[in-house]
Symmetry: C2
Subunit: 182 residues, 2 copies
Amino acid sequence: MRADAQRNYDRIVEVARQVFRERGYDASLDDIAKLAGVGPGTLYRHFPKRENLLDAVMQSWVDKVTETTDKALTHEGSDRDLLLNWFQEYVGLISQHKGGPAKITSAMGDPDSPIMTKCQVLASANGRVIERLREDGALRDGVETIQVCRLVGGIATVADQSDLDASAVRPMLEVVADGLLR
Amino acid sequence: MRADAQRNYDRIVEVARQVFRERGYDASLDDIAKLAGVGPGTLYRHFPKRENLLDAVMQSWVDKVTETTDKALTHEGSDRDLLLNWFQEYVGLISQHKGGPAKITSAMGDPDSPIMTKCQVLASANGRVIERLREDGALRDGVETIQVCRLVGGIATVADQSDLDASAVRPMLEVVADGLLR
DNA sequence: AACAATACGGAGACTGTCTCCGTTTAGCAA
DNA sequence: TTGCTAAACGGAGACAGTCTCCGTATTGTT
């Protein structure tokens, strides 16, 4: 990639990260181009679809996911506490910007989504936690990790769309945790 | 209301019902106006916001909700079966058109939503089922009916957005049911 | 310095939302 | 029936967002 192209690419991603966080995933792309000081053509050449841009923005997010998972797995306390703590981290991770929970959760099962690979990092992070609990014999039979992603993703989605705060989300996560644990 | 206005109103609602079901909640309103044989101005006078139109379309849905609830409450079998059966009906009711689950679930807590009243019919229908189970002593402590709506609404939302079928939804509903029941 | 190759960016096509306002019509009263 | 007025109509067009095309400008290589 030519030096000027790289420069523009980086600026667009940086601006997009900020704008997505502030205005949500539906922010105008022409606006982002303008804020980055490039024409819309440039933005659309680098990122033909909105999701390609989101994908680039998410690169750093991926690192955060594994880091957070490692920390969650060292959690001291009961299995229930471990699971609940992980659920809260999970919700936090996918709720970084408005519209995120729905986007990420539905991308997990969509092979055509440009952010699919990113989301699968999250799915396998969740898998690590679930497998750890399964080895402890803490889970009911028949629990699939993808279902767990969808359940918690669903809660995060409604919380996102209804502007619920953590205190309203917590009891819902407890219900799901209790439904999963023996 | 003048006779011609009533006529147009009815035609718009009828067309909208069909189009929303076929193309989802995001269908173009100008298209709906055209299909109904009226100008966009007419549509927007009757229904200033998209949700006002949805509200009108939902009138008949409200009847269906209470009817379905009555039937669910007569269900023979265990409490778990009753609850699971109700959950499936609930998902069916809010998944009539694409985008419905998210719309309805988030409208429940939004006093400014024109469809709020309609959604509260659903919320109180759910309340009837939950109270019935509470009287039986079947529920854990601290279960709030609005949480149940959000939990099941969340599952329906991800199912809607990921095109999941009933066999994928069922186990998630079971997790929630198990988390709610003693 | 010249010249490909690469990248830029803005004009504008296209789509959907929504409003304004001149025209038409329903319904009533004489 | 006719005439009148309030109500309703509907389409032109303003506005916003998405995305493309293509003439222009920049890069980096020979």
